[in-house]
Amino acid sequence: MILSLDPELMQVLLLSLEVSGLAICIAVVLGIPSGVFLGLRRFPGRNLLITLVNTGMGLPPVVVGLVVFLFLARSGPFGNLNLLYTPSAMIIAQIIIALPIVMGVTMAGIQNLDEKLRLQILALGASKLQYFWKLIEEGRLIVLSALAAGFGSIISEVGAVMMVGGNIKGQTRVLTTAIVLETRQGNYSLAIALGIILFLIALLLNLVFTFLQQRRSS
């Protein structure tokens, strides 16, 4: 089934990659700079924000799904956007799951960089923006870890996408929701095939991250 590139299976796979890929891209673009900022700057309310990020890192996806569902539901504040049960809703939910993870890992990593290294960058005349950018460059391993942790959490997540996407065949069905459905319906071979694909994606990505990490640190 995998080898024959079954069109239904391919569609599920591509949607999974599309939704989680887009969600992680947005989470990284928002989460890395804000993680760096949170790691370096002292401002009122910082501790509260850090607590929120840490809580967010352990937030059950199904709760995120519920909140997004309530916001996007027809009677909710954003009901008129008609986003519920669309891939956009799934992307929104996954961004909310991945963002605190990306921010939290980045923040911890940046705080672990040698304080003198930070002073050294400033002492060579870096502007604020150049300083932030250089820290991200120096912490490439951290950025990779944040990316890996964030993507890993959303590609394998089922609760939120199920709630806000609805698992509609051909529209919002992704690998995880398909596995749940096929298992329930007794289509074990399809469920196993989907499971193997999900496992292979995770394996492949981690191989790439591990390779990049080890190359940098060796």
Binding site: D114, K116, L117, L119, Q120, L122, A123, L124, G125, A126, S127, Q130, K134, E137, E138, R140, R216
Partner: protein
């Protein structure tokens, strides 16, 4: 000489406690000013203040005559560069490390390449340019750090113990090299160290720090041979500090009484002044034969007993009891010629000009 950076009545606090308190310190154009002090004396804090990396609690800083306001404009910050004890290499090649300061200043292409290569050449590391900066040896990494700090020709270069983590041989080789580069480029440099030899070898002027304060600023000759107070004297290796009282002063040649012994020195203080006679151990010569003293022109000749001998590499430190304890540094050859051993009777001789007299009351700064 023109002052490029002036610190005036500055105070830096950490956790409510004042850790730095400098009345006045000038960095003069094209000089190498060494800040000498022990660990925790406030040297590094002073350097961070000079790099405008920290803000003083009180006081004023003047950059090229103009008062500095925080946050300091980028253009002013970019006139200054700093290197730490740890070379702190960035990711990437040696070339890219050295190029960083130029890139952030918008310099690229051929100009960038030429400037980086010049800097690599200055520190003899051209052959390393394509290597990862994190994989070169300690001495090489420090050269990379120095090249990275100098490549954009800062108006002021701040070096925080840049050679402290190197082995003695590498360090010894790098001191004259660094001195040559700084003088060749005419770069103003503030160099922080706890090592008096390093300070002496590099400095035009030396500022001695203790407990967050500058206790003396002057030429290196002043600081080493005419310390303004006992703390400086101790720090620059004038180990013999003998309390005395001035008995007479005849046109600058003073006679002092120190624990029943008479000492002669050149000093401006009047009769009755309580002083400390300060003699560097290398200024003392030892004679075993009393008859040979006739041929010695030194005005101070003290009989004493050898207490102990301590070998310090190529020299030997001899402790003597001359009524008070003094220490002399002599070569191994002299020690063997004299056949010195504890208990021997000996004469310690030194010139009146070798005795630096410090008033007993803590002195101020000079220079």
């Amino acid at each position: 000489m023109k002052s490029i950076l002036r610190l005036k009545d500055v105070e830096v606090a950490l956790g409510g406690k004042t850790i730095l308190n400098i009345e006045e310190l000038d960095v003069r154009s094209a000089e190498i000013l060494t800040i000498l002090g022990s660990t925790g004396s406030g040297k590094s804090t002073t350097l961070k203040l000079m790099a405008f990396l920290i803000k003083p609690k009180k006081g004023e800083l003047f950059w090229q005559g103009k008062k500095v306001r925080f946050p300091v404009p980028l253009v002013v910050r970019r006139s200054i560069s700093m290197t730490f004890q740890d070379p702190l290499p960035f990711e990437g090649t040696v070339f890219e490390n050295v190029a960083y300061g130029l890139r952030i200043r918008g310099i690229k292409g051929k100009e960038l390449r030429v400037k980086v290569e010049e800097a690599l050449e200055l520190f003899s590391i051209s052959h390393l340019k394509n290597q990862s900066a994190k994989k070169v040896s300690g001495g090489e990494a420090q050269r990379v750090a120095l090249a990275r700090s100098l490549v954009f020709r800062p108006s002021l270069l701040l070096l925080d113990e840049p050679l402290a983590s190197l082995d003695p041989i590498t360090k010894e080789g790098m001191i004259p090299e660094l001195h040559k580069v700084l003088k060749q480029l005419g770069i103003t440099c503030v160099y922080v160290t706890h090592d008096q030899e390093e300070a002496f070898a590099l400095a035009d002027r030396i500022a001695v720090m203790e407990q967050g304060e500058i206790i003396q600023v002057g030429t290196k000759e002043d600081v080493f041979f005419k310390p303004s107070d006992v703390r400086v004297a101790r720090f620059v290796g004038a180990e013999n500090l003998i309390p005395a009282v001035i008995l007479s002063n005849e046109e600058g040649l003073v006679t002092m009484k120190a624990q029943g012994k008479t000492l002669e020195a050149v000093a401006p203080f009047p009769q009755g002044t309580g002083v400390v006679a300060c003699i560097r151990p290398e200024e003392i010569t030892l004679k075993k034969d009393g008859a040979a003293l006739d041929r010695v022109t030194a005005r101070n000749q003290l009989p004493g007993i050898v207490l102990s001998l301590e070998t310090l590499g190529p020299v030997i430190k001899v402790s003597l009891d001359c009524g008070f304890q003094i220490k002399a540094l002599i070569t191994r050859r002299s020690a063997s010629d004299l056949n010195l051993k504890p208990g021997d009777a000996i004469f310690a001789t030194f010139k009146a000009t070798a005795v630096h007299v410090i008033p007993e009351v803590k002195g101020g700064t000079n220079g």
